[in-house]
Symmetry: C2
Subunit: 505 residues, 2 copies
C-alpha cells in the first residue's frame, strides 16, 4: 500500500550530459506539475518491464514537454523503448519492509530481495538507504538476515562463472600500509596454478584500498566479461570490485556509508562476501588485522567478527579460513597508493622486504594454497616469492590488466611536496600510531592523489638517535602537507622512550 | 579534522534552470577532475563569508571550465560575489558532532547550533540528515538538547517581530479531517482582537495540512515581511510556515522525514515550536488529538507528549496550554483540502456544523482567548462563531491573503471521479477507521490534488440501513479511485453492528 504508482505514457527519451551520485530524471516543469511530481521525488522511467528509478530534477531548458532527460547509462539501458513511460512512486515498493526494520523487526528472505532489488533499480532515496544502513547499527541483522541480504546482493547483479574452483583472499583493511599485501599474495597463489580472480575495493575511510594501489600499475576497472577473460589468461587478477554489474547494490550502499563515515559490521561482511560470490569464489581466506588503531582493536572482537564471517560462509556454501593478524602497527614501511605500489614491486623483485609485509603476504597465500590441497603450503608460498616465480606471475597479471609489466619501482611518481619528521630524542620506538598515520595520509591527499602518502623509516622496537628521520610525508599541496604534519604532531605518530624509563623511588 | 576545505578561486557564477530537492552546484568535468571533486559530494560556493553548499552535478554542456552553475535562488544570494570560490568539503564542519550523536552521546548547545547552521547552508547530504533524524528515534534527545535544537532552528532563520503579544494554536494533526479546524478557530480568536498570525504546515503523511486546505481559498506562501503586514492588517493569518526564511532548517528536515515516513516526537515538537518562535509567539495552545488511528493512541501517551511540549515551553519562554482532544474518529465529515475548505466555509457561514468540528474549534479558540485574559472565553468563542463575527473576520483574512472573500462553498471544485460506498447491512456504526480513511484519501490523490478526498455520511453511533451511503471517495484518476476503494474495503472503513450483538449461551 505504500506503493503508489501511476502510469504516464508516451514520452521521448533524451540523453542529458550530467553526472550525479544517484540516477536522475529530468522533467519539464509543466509535465511535473500536471502529474503532481515534485523535484527530488523518486520516479521510475522505462517501458514494458524495464524500469529504472531516478530522482526528479526539473528544468525547462534541458527538456521540453514531450521529453524526459536521463544520463547516458540509463539512456543506453532503455534504448529499446520506443515510447517511455513514467511511474511516479510515493515510496519504493519494498518500503513497508524498511519501515518494519526501522521498528526493530527482523525480516524474511523475500524482504531483503525486494529491498535490494529496489536499491539496485535506483528507487531508494539516499536518506532511505541511510536509514537501512543505520538500522543495522542500532539493531544488528540476525545471522539468517545477513545471509538473505548477501544472497540478494549477489542475485541482483551479474555472476562471473568459471569452469573450475575459484580461490580468493581478502582483508577487512583498516591498518595503514595493508593495501599492498594482495599485490604479493595473489601472484604467489596464481603462480602455483590456483585460479584467484581477486576483486578489491577502493579506500572508504583509509588512505589506500588494494584497487587504488594496483591502479598505479595497471587498469583495474574492467567489465565482468573482461575480468573473466583476464583471470583465465593470467590465473589471477587484482581488479576493482565495483565493476559494473557485480553485486551493484554494494556500491550504492558504500556511497552512502562513506557520507556517514559508518561501516556497520554486518554491511561490511555483506559487502565482502557478495563481491566474492559474484565471482563464484568457493574457497576463501579472510584476514582480520587487530590491534590498537585497527578496525578491530582486541583479539576478542576479532574472534567475534571471524565467527560472523564463518557463520555466513557456512550458510552461503563457501569453504573459509579466517586469519587473525597483528594490526597494531603499519604493514611494511609505506602508506598511500604510489608508495605502496613501489614497496610491493620492490618486494616481488627482490623476493624479500619488510618482515611483517613478507610474512603476512606469504601466510595468507599459504592459507589459500592449503585450501587448494597444496602440501607444505607455507614453504611453497615463501619459495614462490623468493624464487621470483611470484614476480613473473605479477608481471603477467599487470600485462593482462593493460599495465606495463616492466615498470620499475623508481618509475612510479611520488609527490615532491614533502616534509621529514625526525626523532626528538635518543631512544626506542615503543608505539607507532595507526590512527594518526591514516589520518595524516588522507589529509596529505591519498587516495585521490595517488602520489601522496607517508614513508616510515622506523617501527616499533627500532633504536633511533635524536635527529634521525622517522617518516616523510608526501602531499598534494603545501596546505595539505601543513595539515598532515600538524595532525601527526598533535596526535603523536611515534612514542620514543629511553631504555631507562623510570628510577624508583 | 573532519573538515577538509581548500579554496579554489576565480570562477564565474552561472544561473542554471534546474530545480532539485537540495541545492546543486554544476561543475565542468575537467574542473572537478583537477580538484578531485566527485559527483554527489557536497561543495561550498561563495565569496568572503557568504558560502552556500550544494551537491555536485557534473556536466560539460551546462557549464564551461570557467563557470559554476547554481539554481536561481543561490545565484541571487551570491549576486554580490565578483569571483566565486569553491570550498570542497569531505564532511560538513559539524560532522564530528553528528558522529557523537550516532554513538549515542548527548551534545552541548553549540553542537546543535553548528549542525543546524550547516544543514541550513546546504552542507548536509540527505543521508546525513536522515542519520541525524534517526539518531533521535533510537536515542531520544534530552529535554535540554531539544531546547538547544529548537533555539538553533529559530536563530538560523528570520524572526518576525510584532509590537504586541502574539497568540497561536497548533494541532499535531494525524486525525482525518483535522486540517479545517484552524480555519474556524483562528478567525474566532482574531475577531476578538487578539493577534494570531498562524503558520501551518502542508501535509506530511496525512491527506491535508491546514496550509493545503487554506490554499484552496487564498494564497498561503508569503514572505516573512508579507506575513507581518497581513497579520497586522487582518489580526490573523493562516499561512504556510515553510515561507522562505522562517526556521529554514525545519523544512529541510521535513523533506527528509517525508521520504522516511518517520516523524520523531522530538523533531515534531522542534518543528512546531521553532516555527512559532520565528513568529514571536509567546502564548500558545497545543492540540494533541488521541485515539485509535491518531498519531497518539492512548491518553497516557498524549499526557507524555503534552509534558514534553510544556517542558520546552518553559525552557523557551512560551506560556502554553495543552489540549488533549478525542481523535478516535474524523473531525467533521470531510477529508482532503477542497472538501475540508468547503466544510469550514459552510460552518463559518451558518455559524454551526458538525458537532465535533464546532466543539473542537470553539474550545481551542477559547483556550487561546483565556490566555489573552478574555473572561467567559468558552461562551465568547461560541458566540463569535454563531453571530457571524468569525465569518466576517475569515473573509478579511482571505482577502488579505489575496483570495476571493465572497467565495461560496459550492464554488470550490471537487473531483467528478467518484464512488460511493453503502452500508452492507442494517445496524449502528461502532467504529470509523482513521488509518483506512487517511490512506484512502492519499491514494485518491490528496493533498497534491486538492479536489480529491472523502466525504462521510455517517460516524460512530449513527444508525444506518442496508444500502445507505456511508462515504464517497473523490479521486484524481480512475486508477487512484480503484486503489482507494480497494484499500477501504481491505482495511474496513466502518464497523456496523446490529443492536443485538450476541446471544448467550
Amino acid at each position: 500500500m505504500s506503493l503508489n504508482a501511476k502510469l504516464v505514457k508516451g514520452f521521448k527519451l533524451k540523453k542529458i550530459d550530467v553526472a550525479f551520485d544517484s540516477n536522475i530524471v529530468v522533467l519539464n516543469r509543466s509535465v511535473a506539475r500536471s502529474y503532481g511530481i515534485s523535484e527530488g521525488s523518486i520516479i521510475g522511467v522505462g517501458c514494458s518491464g524495464r524500469v529504472f528509478g531516478g530522482k526528479v530534477v526539473l528544468s525547462d531548458s534541458l527538456v521540453d514537454k514531450y521529453s524526459i532527460g536521463v544520463p547516458e547509462d540509463i539512456y543506453e539501458k532503455l534504448s529499446e523503448c520506443e515510447n517511455v513511460e513514467l511511474y511516479p512512486f510515493e515510496f519504493p515498493p519494498s518500503f513497508s519492509y524498511l519501515r518494519k526494520r526501522l521498528r526493530g523487526e527482523h525480516l524474511p528472505e523475500n524482504a531483503y530481495m525486494s529491498i535490494v532489488r529496489d536499491v539496485t533499480h535506483g528507487l531508494y532515496d539516499p536518506g532511505q538507504i541511510a536509514a537501512f544502513l543505520l538500522s543495522q547499527v542500532y539493531k544488528p541483522l540476525s545471522l539468517d538476515e545477513l545471509a538473505y541480504l548477501i544472497r540478494a546482493m549477489v542475485e541482483t547483479g551479474e555472476i562471473v562463472k568459471f569452469p573450475e574452483t575459484v580461490y580468493d583472499e581478502h582483508s577487512i583493511g583498516g591498518v595503514p600500509g595493508n593495501s599492498k599485501v594482495a599485490l604479493i599474495a595473489v601472484p604467489i597463489v596464481a603462480s602455483m596454478g590456483l585460479l584467484i580472480p581477486k576483486t578489491s575495493s577502493r579506500a572508504i575511510t583509509s588512505p589506500a584500498g588494494t584497487a587504488d594501489t594496483m591502479e598505479v600499475l595497471a587498469r583495474v576497472d574492467f567489465s565482468p566479461d573482461e575480468i573473466h577473460e583476464i583471470a583465465l589468461r593470467a590465473r589471477g587478477t587484482i581488479v576493482w570490485g565495483g565493476a559494473l554489474g557485480l553485486a551493484p547494490a554494494d556500491d550504492i550502499f558504500i556511497r552512502v556509508e562513506r557520507k556517514l563515515a559508518i561501516d556497520p559490521q554486518t554491511q561490511m561482511v555483506a559487502s565482502i562476501l557478495a563481491k566474492k560470490l559474484a565471482m563464484s569464489v568457493s574457497r576463501l581466506v579472510i584476514d582480520i588485522p587487530f590491534g590498537k588503531g585497527a578496525k578491530v582493536e582486541t583479539e576478542e572482537d576479532a574472534v567475534e567478527l571471524g565467527s560472523l564471517f564463518l557463520s555466513q560462509a557456512q550458510r552461503l556454501g563457501i569453504t573459509m579460513r579466517v586469519a587473525l593478524t597483528y594490526g597494531g602497527e603499519p604493514v611494511g614501511f609505506t602508506i598511500g597508493p604510489a608508495l605502496e605500489a613501489r614497496e610491493a614491486l620492490e618486494t616481488l623483485i627482490k623476493g624479500t622486504g619488510a618482515p611483517n609485509l613478507v610474512e603476512k603476504a606469504c601466510s595468507l597465500a599459504a592459507l589459500v594454497l592449503s585450501l587448494g590441497g597444496v602440501t607444505s603450503a607455507d614453504q611453497a608460498a615463501c619459495e614462490a616469492l623468493k624464487s621470483g616465480k611470484a614476480y613473473a606471475k605479477f608481471k603477467e597479471i599487470i600485462e593482462a590488466q593493460e599495465g606495463d609489466p616492466d615498470i620499475k619501482p623508481e618509475d612510479i611518481p611520488i609527490s615532491s611536496i614533502q616534509y621529514t619528521l625526525t626523532a626528538p630524542r635518543d631512544g626506542i620506538v615503543s608505539f607507532v600510531n595507526n590512527v594518526a598515520l591514516n589520518m595524516a595520509a588522507r589529509l596529505a591527499g591519498a587516495p585521490d592523489d595517488k602520489s601522496a602518502g607517508i614513508r616510515l623509516y622506523a617501527k616499533t622496537g627500532y633504536r633511533v638517535r635524536k635527529g634521525d628521520p622517522l617518516l616523510t610525508v608526501y602531499a598534494s599541496t603545501k596546505n595539505r602537507l601543513r595539515d598532515a604534519v600538524r595532525t601527526l604532531s598533535e596526535l603523536g605518530a611515534f612514542v620514543i622512550e629511553g631504555v631507562l624509563v623510570r628510577i624508583l623511588p
